[in-house]
Subunit: 89 residues, 2 copies
């Protein structure tokens, strides 16, 4: 099942790592605990909308940039997988 | 401040009303309480990812369709507003 929090977490983690930043650095900047950010990134906790904005700000990303990436991920999971049927079998 | 839950709620409420359905009907179909759905639609409660999926299913919408609409709303709020300066004043 596609879970919004998993995709959000994945997007936030990828953005942080692409910036070469640590959990500690981003958590401090977003004023959230390191454990909270870690759980959000791993899709284990639903970020509140307010803290999601704080994390986006800490990463210098707009909410729409994050949602655009999440949307791409969700769409790719929703796309039906084409199965090659081997008639020769 | 742009809050994800406000836009999600607005999108879900608009979709339900466009389908001419009641809170009671959609809540029953999604197996959530009427009060919960009502709070989510008004942006007063964060929907868990699992219940968001249930509500999307109840509305016969994919998560990506809902997120696409949310993204448009968020983008329109983020776009800087151009102010007309009246030089004649």
């Amino acid at each position: 099942m596609t879970l919004l929090r998993s995709h959000l977490g994945s997007t936030l983690r990828t953005a942080r790592m692409n910036q070469g930043r640590t959990l500690r650095d981003v958590a401090k900047s977003a004023r959230v605990s390191l454990g909270y950010l870690s759980e959000v990134e791993r899709g284990q906790k639903e970020a509140s909308s307010e803290l999601l904005n704080s994390i986006c700000n800490a990463l210098d990303l707009s909410l729409s940039m994050v949602l655009s990436d999440v949307l791409l991920q969700v769409k790719s999971q929703e796309t039906p997988v084409l199965t090659v049927v081997d008639d020769a079998a």
